[in-house]
Symmetry: D2
Subunit: 338 residues, 4 copies
């Protein structure tokens, strides 16, 4: 941590800061420059976070040097984490994994139909919302536990794994019964009570980046889960909020190589939600592989114009099948199996 | 709702859309222009939201005309809503209301001390976090229910009302016992299960705008609460995420007149969290009044350099007292009591 | 400047950086911490900017400590700069200054009519675009030099000063002949050749913040002008790009107290362009005063529905007159004359 | 164009708008809905842009239906534009084109050395800044015309084409003499006088997206050039401003498929400037190809730690050579030659 003093800071103010640093058991190292004094702090920075150093008189600002996340960092764990969902489905290894399915679970029959088709085309996980986070209270809110049951049945019939969103801490028991992977959605990325519950569950988690979250905040939310002893965390880039309106959000593929450099966690991409536009999904899905991601989560609906949510960005099963063929070629060129 | 067809849309595609609109019981009105056909839809748009019209072949995009929020809109209710917290504390009337207190509840004694001082200076509500949403799992997470009890005691001793954050649906009973106003924080603005629980509680709610939420999304989150029959909702602007780094967030005062125009709900401002910098709080507090807000929520700590969270943006009780005097003059110039 | 080395940096890499720092004539101060080594650099940082330190092997990142702008900084000049336009019109002193007029100059007669009205209501500067930066090549591009002449005539007839935009270096001579204050628009804030020409001219300059410019970048653009020996620079906040769509841009009033703290330059606000919505102009104009600005620039058009540009945000002369009365009350409450 | 009237609009206000629409020679089509009246306008919308319809009493807002750019649109020209730089160098065809070179031209010898190396590795264009847009007036501003001469010489010796930035209208003659392709930088994307001069020149243009420009604004800036009769325009995505700080800007690859859908112009990517971080360039370069771009522009410097600008994001010639091999494999998988 670097404490930058104001040019006008008095010797008393500087000493006051130095004393506080020592008091906590850290070592201050003082550089008196031309314009201002800078105090480097040696030792575990986290000891200092409880003290709001910027509130000290004479302090201009404080620059953290150490990363605030530990367990998620590449420095903590050099080798890539591989999250094992069982039955050979692993995210983060050499195999590139695709999750596919409708935005919302609308019924058992439709789900089983989609599941068979996406499985045949190469998807390993079945996705679909049972509990739906909807901006408007007047939008379809999901089938709830019935939706979870449909997902379980469709997955069991097809030999797939279920990934589906948990929205509230009170839903945990149902999810533990029916889901294979708990999705924490973008709007809940900083629902810290939910992160704790999901961490304690020890189930595999798919943690989506919030719409206005920095990558560092995403890693800190992962840290909430990891620090509960649950290392089965897969991150997901799903677009951030910017001024651009041609796409629903700005799908930030830079998060892929950044996450690979800064953390050991697997990361997948969600171009369906991020772009909100079917026309851009194939190109951005290919780019996701080329950027180095470990997988994709894609919306597939048998009849997008009848979908109860997110129709405009859903692929039909036929389009998904064609896309998977293209993705396979790109994956191979990038040294990944699919 | 306006359905804009692609220039290349075939007559069959256009007819297909027209048929679907009629099927739902709405009236299509077709304009065949030079370049493309546009279909206006007359009737309750909400009937159409279940159909993802943009997924229909030949449709370029769909422009909603009606606002998606109803109960929150100025059109639904012409007169300003005034939220009554009891004992003469009302938000949204002619009186400009100030809530003040520390970021986190750190102990009973300190809280009572602060409460006395901010009360004396003119604050009507006592603020303070018992449950703290912290980006890092290693930061202080709040005193929990003990914090709520301290708040209740300090408020009772000083004749103030308590506003404090609820972070999870499971905390509702404790909040109902100890708080006067339930704060839904920026990170939970789209925690829809929490909004439902808070709506059902019928308690006054302070709903903070999310860091990347549009004003319309804020109103839709309010709509979740209103549609549960709880009209005691006060909105709060607390800064949005932008590229600017000199302030912690960008305090978006434009939300004040916009909310006054578009809704009937009271709105207050939180310059402490928004700017994250003590130096900017007084100027932005004055600007908040001038922009037409109904109140302010300010961080006040007896000893900011010992604060367990957010020290750099906390006023001392003396600074708060001085600021209140200045605010009173500006409020008067703007026709508001304080 | 603080050079943060990677945890994996070798002793050779650390020494290599130390040697480079010394070579340039600066003093390195090395802190060997638990995780990584940090090298503080004492001396004029600007000597180092020519060396891309982050490209050195073993360097993780570099944290500048000194502000990159000098002449614009409050540290360089403690007292507020007052820009004198002559005939008693001064920006940055106790008087709050208002510039008013149409978005575009559309003709001499209309301009003289508006000038008389805004002058009578209290405006000191006449604004109006002769050269118009328009997003589309098919939009009205301004009357050019004829527009400048109309502005000069209207200002002379009414005893006002002219502020108008210069878009290209080749226009400087015409502006020197007809304008009193050269406006550099948001889109040209980083047109560095234009900044140099405007700096060399020694004329008063109104420098508008770019739509995606940080405050620091605004100050650096001012620095281009100041470093040419022209200290007659007034800054202008006119909204930044965010995801919000209810307002055209997000009028960032935080820039007012920030600029007052960080620089000695006057700053005014432009709520007309920033909000793009007439309904929000009065509230935000009042907030601009309360935030501590030195003036306002407002769009006034005798007949907004016939305006050739920006009608929706233009006040009528009558609305302007009424607003000025309100602004006067707020200004007084804030200790400013108007 | 759709004109949405306020719910409170009077019959007179509605008729007033209808009359104005007819006056201009367009056909209004009125839909009287449950809540409000909507007026569709049939005919060339551009006729209406001169009238600020939102300033009319009773009008709530106006929704444009037609795209504001014509010549740049895919509807205007179905087939892809291929920009021919001569000697077989074509951008927009099946061949994927790479431009490479240092950020700044620092001297003739160094440039020739780099040119030979990047040419050998497969680059067709030599890039390098002679006129440098620098945020600070104290940063290196480029060698100017000498830089252009060095570029010409290095390109001629190696059989490459020169692409370099023009910053000001007064530089056009020198550029016409020495450059093969005129780069308009991100900060000048809306320097409309420069766009006009560059359009009139009839030279190939590389137009970079501004840091806060929407895609539509980028196409409108292209329209400035096209409408001057210069169709040799190549667009370039180089990152937008967001809240994320791990990357310098957010490289928005979504712009690639969007541009391919909405326009007929070629588009290339600049991951060096966009990410500002060498570590992310290879992954994002591969993703650029996979997203469907027509080329890349990459920074290559023989000794990044001695670079006069942008060292941290520059590849060494060896890294560039290795990257080109990887890119070739991805290009092939995507059906492109490299």
């Amino acid at each position: 941590m670097i404490i930058v003093m104001k040019p006008s800071a008095s010797p008393e103010q500087i000493n006051h800061v130095i004393e506080k640093v020592k008091e906590i058991g850290l070592t201050p190292q003082v550089s008196r420059g031309v314009e201002r004094t800078v105090i480097g702090v040696i030792g575990q920075e986290s000891k200092l976070t409880v003290k709001p150093l910027e509130a000290f008189p004479g302090v201009e600002h404080v620059v953290p040097i150490q990363k605030p996340y530990k367990l998620a960092s590449r420095e903590f764990k050099k080798e890539d984490t591989v999250v094992d969902l069982g039955d050979g489905v692993k995210i983060g290894g050499n195999e590139f994994i695709v999750a596919a399915g409708p935005c919302s679970v609308e019924g058992e029959e439709m789900l089983i139909e989609v599941a068979h088709k996406v499985k045949a085309a190469g998807a390993k996980l079945l996705r679909g919302g049972a509990f739906k986070p909807r901006t408007s209270p007047y939008s379809f809110q999901g089938l709830g536990v019935d939706g979870l049951k449909h997902l379980r049945k469709a997955a069991d019939e097809t030999g797939m794994k279920v990934v589906t969103e948990i929205m509230d801490t009170r839903q945990i028991d149902d999810h533990l019964e029916y889901s294979d992977m708990l999705q924490v959605g973008a709007r809940n990325m900083q629902n810290f009570d939910l992160l704790k519950v999901v961490g304690d569950s020890k189930k595999p988690v798919l943690l989506k980046r919030g719409l206005s979250s920095t990558m560092q905040e995403l890693y800190l939310s992962a840290e909430y889960i990891l620090s509960r002893g649950n290392f089965k965390v897969v991150l997901c880039e799903r677009g951030i909020r910017t001024f651009e309106t041609e796409t629903r959000n700005t799908y930030d593929l830079n998060a892929i190589p950044a996450t690979k450099k800064l953390t050991h966690l697997p990361i997948i991409g969600d171009p369906s939600h991020a772009t909100g536009n079917l026309a851009y999904v194939p190109a951005m899905a290919k780019a996701t592989i080329a950027a180095g991601a470990d997988g994709l989560i894609l919306e597939v609906h048998p009849n997008p114009e009848e979908a109860w949510s997110d129709g405009p960005q859903s692929l039909t099963p036929k389009m998904f099948e064609d896309l998977m063929k293209e993705l396979r070629v790109v994956a191979k060129a990038c040294g990944r199996e699919l």
